[in-house]
């Protein structure tokens, strides 16, 4: 069975993904003292800033090379160089991501070449490390942009010096709260780690008396450089092709063994993560985590009967869709529709393996949009949707309640604070899912049963 690619349509109706450069901004926001410039027209940077600011509720400063008509005809290199000059003066960063756009790529801009010349020419003054990432908007979804940036970051910044016993931990596009939870688990397991990218504090920064244009936090440059010499890499990125896998890059280039895992959502994935940490560190799982695990099991049992009534549609970035699907299967919720806007990667294969034994056949949709998702939801008894706020029409038009998770969350507050991984995060998510099913049940079970069974009811119910 292949993944559904039933878009006989050419038109994309209500998109389930964003473009590459947006995804590529995020990892740079998770590097200490880093800035990003988008080589394209002014609108790209502004739109992406708006999209992200509304989700994270944080200032998102992203520079633009502001290519105009002239730049489009004669080349935009001068714009990019001026842009670098100005942003370095304004922000004084240590690392600068240079992201291209569909415009820059189409007019043949060489951001790698420009970056290298710029770095050499200005070598005498403290120039930040430049990391060019070709991210044409037509080249893939934001999920691919995210991983592409990570590959460029490790490829540009890592350098081999001396072996150390640290462990690289590479995370996909998850919330700052999720990143904090991974850090907490690593610390509880006494792991010496480098987490990349670390948006825990930068995209969910605490209020401080003095505002910093580049918020404190993020993975330090030196730590990234040393990732080449780490003992192992743990990457939560099973769905990405090898060329978009920073862990694969570190393994093939520097021989750092890669452990690719699903995101630790659900009992199995959390256990796998903890088991690996135990193996790598030889440290026991501390009591606090054992208790959290026990509570998750308890929660699963408490809710299992309600959950069996769930028929879910899941959509979002491949890594998240895979992790959530695993959670559903573990808990007896039917993973009825599993969709992503991304077109590439291992997700279809992974989902087929995962759902092979399910009673209800899962519909797996790659390269999909919300017109597809909605069409497949209609009349299929789907009573739960899990994904970003872009799924709001499923509620508005089909009456399917939406558990908000992933990116973007634009119609509710606190997208940056949603915690859904680790044993504790899983409990929170699972309770939310179960309670969404229960809320629906409580809102109409009296009426449903009356309608169905009360023998003397009038033919058409008033109210």
């Amino acid at each position: 069975m292949n993944a559904q690619k039933d878009r006989v349509r050419n038109v994309n109706e209500n998109p389930c993904n964003m473009c590459m450069p947006l995804g590529a901004i995020v990892p740079f926001k998770g590097i200490e003292n880093a800035m990003v410039i988008i080589h394209g027209s002014q609108g790209c940077a502004t739109y992406m800033r708006r999209h992200m600011a509304e989700h994270f509720n944080e200032p998102i400063d992203v520079a633009s090379s502001s290519i105009t008509e002239k730049g489009t005809i004669y080349g935009g290199e001068a714009n990019l160089r001026q842009g670098l000059d100005n942003l370095i003066r304004l922000y004084n960063p240590r690392v600068v991501g240079i992201l291209s756009t569909c415009l820059a790529e189409t007019i043949g801009e060489d951001i790698v070449g420009t970056a290298s010349v710029y770095q050499q020419e200005k070598g005498h003054s403290p120039v930040p490390r430049l990391v060019p990432v070709p991210t044409p908007g037509y080249g893939g979804s934001h999920a691919e942009g995210y991983f592409k940036a990570l590959v460029s970051i490790v490829a540009t910044l890592c350098r081999k010096t001396r072996k150390h016993d640290g462990i690289n931990v590479i995370v996909p596009h998850i919330s700052p709260a999720d990143v904090r939870e991974i850090r907490r688990i690593l610390e509880l397991m006494k792991v010496n780690y480098t987490l990349l990218p670390d948006i825990a504090d930068t995209l969910d920064s605490p209020y401080t008396k003095v505002y910093k244009k580049i918020p404190a936090g993020g993975t330090p440059l030196e730590a990234i450089e040393a990732m080449a010499d780490a003992r192992a890499t743990i990457q939560f990125g099973e769905t990405m092709d090898d060329d978009l896998s920073p862990g694969n890059y570190l393994e093939s280039k520097y021989g750092v063994p890669l452990h690719n895992l699903p995101l630790p959502i659900g009992i199995e994935a959390c256990d796998r993560f903890l088991a690996l940490l135990q193996t790598l560190t030889l440290n026991p799982v501390p009591e606090v985590l054992q208790k959290e695990r026990g509570r998750l099991l308890d929660a699963m049992v408490d809710s299992h009967k309600y959950n069996r009534e769930g028929h879910a549609a899941v959509f979002g970035e491949p890594e998240t869709v895979y992790a959530i699907s695993r959670l559903l299967v573990e808990n007896g919720i039917a993973p009825a529709i599993l969709a992503t806007g991304s077109a590439k990667g291992h997700l279809p294969y992974l989902l087929q393996q995962l759902t092979a034994e399910c009673d209800e056949k899962a519909l797996i949709m790659m390269d999909s949009d919300f017109a597809d998702i909605r069409r497949h939801c209609a009349g299929k008894g789907i009573n739960l949707a899990i994904g970003s706020s872009d799924g709001r029409l499923l509620t508005e038009r089909e009456g399917i309640p939406l558990v908000r998770l992933g990116f973007p969350i634009h119609d509710r507050i606190g997208g940056q604070r949603i915690l859904s991984l680790g044993y504790t995060g899983t409990i929170m998510l699972l309770d939310q899912i179960t309670n969404t099913l229960l809320a629906a049940k409580y809102s109409h079970y009296r009426q449903d049963l009356y309608q169905r069974f009360y023998p003397d009811r009038p033919s058409s119910m008033e109210q």
């Binding site: 109706e13 998109p15 708006r50």
Partner: protein
């Protein structure tokens, strides 16, 4: 309050676009291209065109380009509709690598065909994005052919992002609207009918104004473009007056409609009590009908009796607070300065993304000495002047909101996403309430400023 990084501001080219009233007398530099790397808050041509056209409710809005441009503009605005909601759907040709290599024309044609068949719209607007301008798809020809084939209006919107700034996008949108309303023969002029330009019916604002005018005995043919449809837009040429709220986006439209249809126009503003009262009286005076005049006065008297005291109540709590403004267009900044005055507040910083020279002149006249006026500001400048000028509150859009909050300042959402109306008498009261709710919230006292 001192800046923590005083050298932050060291971008020479930006100095011409920043003026402190009473200290610098040269006119402000505006309408220039944004400077690379300065983190401008402006968007692009496509953005300008999309903002203006998107509220046409029954049109298919098809974005020709890679997916991003459609994703970032899908149903993000608060325009309300009394009819179709097709405008809330995002349609994109979702161009991929192969389309860039071989051209996007065939895919575009297929997309238009699909949409025409599925939705049967009377009008389809096809927006070009950056790369369409580069790969050379002939939008005009494709749209012409599709119009004939499907018997509907398929109109290209030449909005390649790089081909100017947001203001250029407004002009592109106006050209498209002119095409939509074009009539082959002379149309009869209807007395007491007007068009309302530059209101996008955010949170029902155009409905509020339509209600006032109706009460005065004046019919609104159509608002450009809030809650408009192909049919209602087509009635525009029969109006005897155009009134313009958002001059930045619709000033050009009004001038062109005067040239083509001989329809005169008035710049008005329904933001704040003062401007609302004055605008209603000017509209009434234009028609010179005593019945309209007496109804107008009755309306003003009634509404002022309700909302005047409300505003006064808020004024007592807000007197002396300082406001900073950074909004899209000049007209809005001007109205806001007056609105803050109604609330007893002083404006200490005012800037716009795309204000015009004459609007900056007006701003300069309205503000007091020491007020910083700036065009196309960036976050560094907003931060610096909010702190230096001691602003208690910022008015702005989504991107500016988190910055204000991080600086511990109150914030007013004066953007297209808002969910409550800020126009007319009721809107002025909403505005005052929003200012009070944010400035006087208990949360600020816990921040260590």
């Amino acid at each position: 309050m001192a800046m923590n990084q005083p050298d932050n501001f060291d971008i020479q080219e930006r100095q011409k676009s920043i003026r402190t009233k009473g200290r610098q007398s040269q006119p402000i530099n505006c309408q220039a291209d944004s400077i690379a790397g300065c983190v401008s808050q402006r968007a692009c041509v496509y953005c300008g065109a999309r903002v203006v056209l998107n509220p046409v409710t029954d049109a298919v809005h098809l974005v020709h380009g890679p997916i991003g441009c459609a994703s970032y503009t899908w149903d993000i605005r608060g325009s309300l509709s009394s009819g179709s909601d097709l405008f809330r759907y995002s349609f994109s040709t979702d161009l991929r690598e192969e389309d860039i290599i071989f051209g996007g024309e065939r895919k575009l044609t297929r997309c238009i065909d699909e949409l025409a068949e599925r939705y049967h719209p009377q009008v389809m607007l096809v927006y070009s994005t950056c790369i369409v301008g580069v790969i050379g798809d002939d939008l005009e020809a494709i749209c012409r052919k599709a119009s004939l084939q499907h018997g509907i209006k398929v109109i290209p919107v030449q909005s390649s992002g790089f081909s100017g700034n947001k203001s250029d996008g407004y002009r592109v949108a106006c050209e498209v609207l002119l095409r939509m309303i074009a009539t082959p023969e002379d149309v009869p002029r209807q007395a007491h009918h007007l068009n309302y330009l530059g209101d996008f019916n955010l949170a029902g604002e155009a409905w509020i104004i339509r209600g006032y005018l109706q009460e005065m005995g004046i019919h609104v043919n159509v608002a450009f473009t809030g809650d408009s449809s192909y049919e209602t837009l087509r009635t525009a040429p029969t109006a005897s007056l155009n009134i313009i709220q958002c001059a930045g986006s619709m000033g050009y439209m009004a001038k062109r409609m005067q040239e083509i249809y001989g329809i005169p126009f008035l710049n008005i503003s329904f933001l704040g009590l003062e401007d609302t009262v004055e605008s209603l009286r000017r509209i009434s005076a234009f028609f010179g009908d005593p019945l309209i005049a007496s109804r107008t006065e009755a309306l003003i008297q009634r509404e002022m009796a309700i909302y005047g005291p409300t505003i006064q109540n808020y004024r007592r709590r807000l007197q002396g607070k300082k406001a900073a403004i950074f909004v899209g267009g000049g007209f809005k900044a001007i109205s806001l300065i007056k609105q803050f005055r109604e609330l007893g507040m002083e404006v200490v910083m005012v800037g716009t993304q795309t204000g015009q020279p004459e609007e900056y002149d007006t701003i300069h006249q309205l503000v007091s000495d020491g007020t910083v006026v700036l065009d196309d500001a960036n976050p560094s400048e907003l931060e610096r002047f909010m702190l230096e000028q001691g602003a208690d509150l910022l008015v702005g859009g989504v991107k500016e909101r988190p910055l204000a909050f991080k600086l511990g300042r109150a914030f007013i959402d004066h953007n297209h996403e808002r969910k409550h109306p800020l126009s007319g008498f009721t809107g002025a009261a909403n505005f005052a309430r929003e200012v009070e709710e944010t400035v006087c919230s208990p949360v600020w006292k816990y921040l260590d400023k």
